[in-house]
Structure formats: structure tokens, C-alpha cells
């Protein structure tokens, strides 16, 4: 109970360092919370056991090779959509960011319009539009929708990164006689990417989470595979086991990527290379789809 004394000043500014009586009271609150949570968990478990969701017959399907293959194929499809969407949206983001930073006003206007429009639309509306109106296959529809949306968000991330690089860097590069493309490629972008890498990875978490939207347009991804098993009479409809397995894997993947983003951010903040120049502080962005990654 003494750990919170030092670590975060602003948090511990909210309460006095607990004395013996306060500490005893806090232990009491802690025990009460733990008991309440344990009771809740026990009640849910009891309910599920009563429904027979933990009977071996509901879990046996996961031992079947066909089921394992179905799940793995679904996971593979999810990762395929994610990889395609990630690569394409990074490319689109680079193009749109270059457009928004262009010296030619019409290029700038068009890119700004595209970025603002695709960021304002719900990603699902775009996916449905591509799927229904343009009548393409589920995978290209999903990847195109994710690319348009995440590409626009990443364009803003890249642009913020480039504009946050200390202007002395740009001026020095021009003074050395570099052309504007060379200044961008050799001086500004490397420093911008270094500062923006955590935010970029956080945006990729959004893309990974949003691949599950493919479920709604009948793309045969992970959730789709889970549903096939969950509604199958032959396997006695093991809904809860499927939800447990699928969400553990999904949340695990997203958490790994999120942790990677915070790890990169911490590492970059400590790095001497970022201390030398004024760049935006590396910070993991929000993983809320639709919320801007940059604050």
C-alpha cells in the first residue's frame, strides 16, 4: 500500500500519505472491492455452469482438427486483411500527407478535402458503400474501406510529425543546397517518423480492431469462423466457449500491438537522438476508431 507515495506526483497530490488508520481503512476498502468482484465473478460462473457452458461437450469441438483449421483460417483471413490494410493505408497516408504539404495550392486543396471527408465518414458506411454499391468482394471492400479511413488519419499524423520538426532543420538543409524533395526525404521525414512511430502503431491497432467489421459484410474472418461454430447444432451451440476463445485471441493481439506502441514511445523518449532536436514528444495515440490519433 505504500507504492503510490512516490511514483505519480499528480495522483498522490489528491490525497495525503495514509497514516496507520487510513491505511487500515484502505485495506478494508480493498478487501470489500475484491469480495464484491469475486462475488460477481462467482455469480456469472455459477450461471454459466448451470447452463452447462463449461461441460466438456461444449468444449470438445476445439479438439477437432476441422474446427481448429476453421478458426486458424479465420485468423489468417483477419491477419491478411490487416496486413493489406496496414501497408496500403501507410502508402495512402504518405501520399495524402505529401499532398497536404505540397507547394501547389490545388494539390493541397484536393488532399485536404479527401482527408477531411474520409475522416468524417463512419468507416462502416464506406465499407458498406463499397460492398453494396460497387459490388466488390468482401475482402477488397473491407481493405479499401479501412485503407481510406486509416490512410486519412495517418496522413494527418505524418503531417503533424513533419511540421513539428524544428524549422532550423529545414533551413539548414536548404542552406546546404538540397532540393525540396531531398529535404523532405533525407531530413524531415526520418525525424518525423521517429517522433510519430508510437502514434502510427496505435493507429494500426485501430485498423486491426476494425478488421472485425468484415464480419458484418460476410468476410470469412475470425469472428465469422467463431459464429459458424457457435450456432452449430452438432456441437451443441457452444456460444460462451467460442466467445472466450475468440475474445482472448483478439484482445491479446491488440494488447500486444498497443504495448509495442507504448514501449516504442518510452524508448524514443529516452533516446539521445530525439533529445538533440525539438520534435513532438513520442506518445502512443488513442486506439478509438474515429478519434484523431494526434492531440
Amino acid at each position: 500500500m505504500t507504492a503510490h507515495r512516490s511514483s505519480r506526483t499528480s495522483a498522490s497530490a489528491l490525497y495525503d500519505i495514509p497514516g496507520p488508520r487510513a491505511r487500515a481503512r484502505h485495506v478494508g476498502y480493498g478487501v470489500a472491492t475484491a469480495l464484491a468482484l469475486a462475488a460477481l465473478v462467482a455469480w456469472v460462473l455459477h450461471l454459466l455452469v448451470d447452463m452447462g457452458q463449461f461441460s466438456s461437450v461444449k468444449w470438445r469441438p476445439f479438439l477437432y482438427e476441422g474446427i481448429q483449421e476453421l478458426l486458424l483460417r479465420g485468423l489468417g483471413n483477419t491477419l491478411k486483411a490487416f496486413a493489406l490494410a496496414a501497408v496500403l493505408s501507410l502508402a495512402l497516408g504518405a501520399v495524402l500527407a505529401a499532398g497536404r504539404l505540397s507547394e501547389h495550392a490545388p494539390v493541397r486543396w484536393v488532399s485536404t478535402l479527401l482527408v477531411e471527408f474520409f475522416r468524417a465518414m463512419p468507416v462502416l458506411v464506406m465499407i458498406f458503400f463499397i460492398f453494396v454499391a460497387l459490388e466488390v468482394q468482401p475482402l477488397p471492400a473491407l481493405v479499401a474501406g479501412l485503407t481510406l479511413y486509416n490512410g486519412s488519419v495517418l496522413a494527418e499524423v505524418f503531417r503533424t510529425g513533419v511540421t513539428s520538426v524544428d524549422r532550423g532543420q529545414r533551413e539548414a538543409a536548404y542552406a546546404l543546397g538540397l532540393r525540396k524533395t531531398q529535404v523532405m526525404v533525407h531530413v524531415l521525414v526520418p525525424q518525423a517518423v521517429r517522433a510519430m512511430l508510437p502514434t502510427i502503431i496505435s493507429q494500426l491497432v485501430v485498423a486491426l480492431k476494425d478488421t472485425s467489421l468484415g464480419f458484418l459484410i460476410t468476410y470469412q474472418e475470425f469472428l465469422h469462423a467463431g459464429r459458424l461454430i457457435a450456432v452449430n447444432m452438432d456441437y451443441t451451440m457452444p456460444f460462451i466457449p467460442v466467445v472466450i476463445v475468440v475474445s482472448a485471441i483478439y484482445i491479446g493481439m491488440c494488447m500486444l500491438l498497443s504495448w509495442f506502441a507504448t514501449w516504442v514511445a518510452r524508448r524514443e523518449r529516452r533516446s539521445v537522438k530525439t533529445e538533440a532536436v525539438a520534435v513532438a514528444p513520442p506518445e502512443a495515440g488513442s486506439t478509438m476508431p474515429g478519434a484523431p490519433g494526434v492531440r
Partner: protein, 214 residues
Amino acid sequence: MNVLTDNFSLYGEGFLGTIRLTVYSSLLALALGVLMAAFRVAPVGALRSVGTVWVTVLRNTPLTLLFFAMLLGLPRFGVALPFELFAVLALGCYTSSFICEAVRSGINTVPVGQGEAARSLGMNFGQTLGAVVLPQAFRTVIPPIGSTLIALAKNSAIAGSFSVTELLSTYKTLNENGYSVLWSFLWIALGYLILTLAISALFHAMERRWGVAR
């Protein structure tokens, strides 16, 4: 063009459904989010862990998975509630984790002296947070909360695929009645644009009225 005039009631119903979803889930998300933020800075370790787990798990859960588990799962266990309520629960819980992070970083922007002064007046944790720190934090978190709620409005489109009446799902009926897909989607897009611009305008007004830069 006549897609809108012919189906005004259908569009209106969908639009109202989306607004209802957005408003109710926003209220739930704000309440839960502030509560969890308070948990995360509380002096009791167990409460801090509850807040951390809540945020970490929900932030890394795909919203579709949450809808899948709640709307297809709970009815099987005899929890017979209207689908709209399930959708509000899923959206509200999911968004609350992002609200919590926004509020917590807002709490961190309030100068340490404020909390210390409150404590030196003899205020306890609840009083310090509720009467001194949160009102000041509120002023800095208006913009991030605004963008989170805009995202919530856009995410509410997922509910349409789980048989909840909302704007995006109107395209199915229009499609069956043989209306042009392009035009029906245009009006749907416009509806979402109106909603998100309205939220954005509201938060801009709040920001002008109460906001401070720190």
C-alpha cells in the same frame, strides 16, 4: 433525388435511432468514464487495478466483438432486453474506456498546487477530486471528449447490423424497394455528417465558454 422525399419517414426513423443511441451511450460512457478515472487515481490499490483492467481490456476489444458477445450472447441466457439497450450498453462501456483516459490526462494537467491546497484545507480524496480537481480538469478535457463522442456517433453504425434501428441500416429497405444505392448512401452520409458536425459545434461552443489552455 426523390429517394429522400419518398422515404422521409424511414430516414427520419433511422436518424432518430442513431441520435437516441448516441445520446444514451454518451451519457453512460461519460458516467462510467469519470467513475473509472476516479478509480484510477484513487488511494485504494484494488480500485486502481479495477480501473486499469477495465481500460486496458475494453480499449483493446474490437467493438464488433463486444456487440457479437452482448447482442447474440445475452439473449440466449434469458436476459430479454430490447436490442437497443444492449447496443447502448456495448457502445457505452466501450467508449467509457476512452473517456476515462481523456479525463485522467485532464486530471494530470491540473497543477499539483491545487490538490495540495485542497488537502491542506482538510479535504479528503473525494472532496479534493470532486470539488477542486475535476471541475478544473473538465475545462481542459472538452476537446478530447468531443472527438471521442464524435467517434461514438460514427461507431453506432455497427448497431444497425445487429437489428437495431439506426441510420445505416435504412439502406437495406431502400435497396429492396429498388431505389438507387448511390443516392440512398449519399443521404445516409449526409445524416452522419449533420450529426458529427452538430456534436463538433456543441463542443466548440463549450470550449469557447469554459475551455482553458494549459
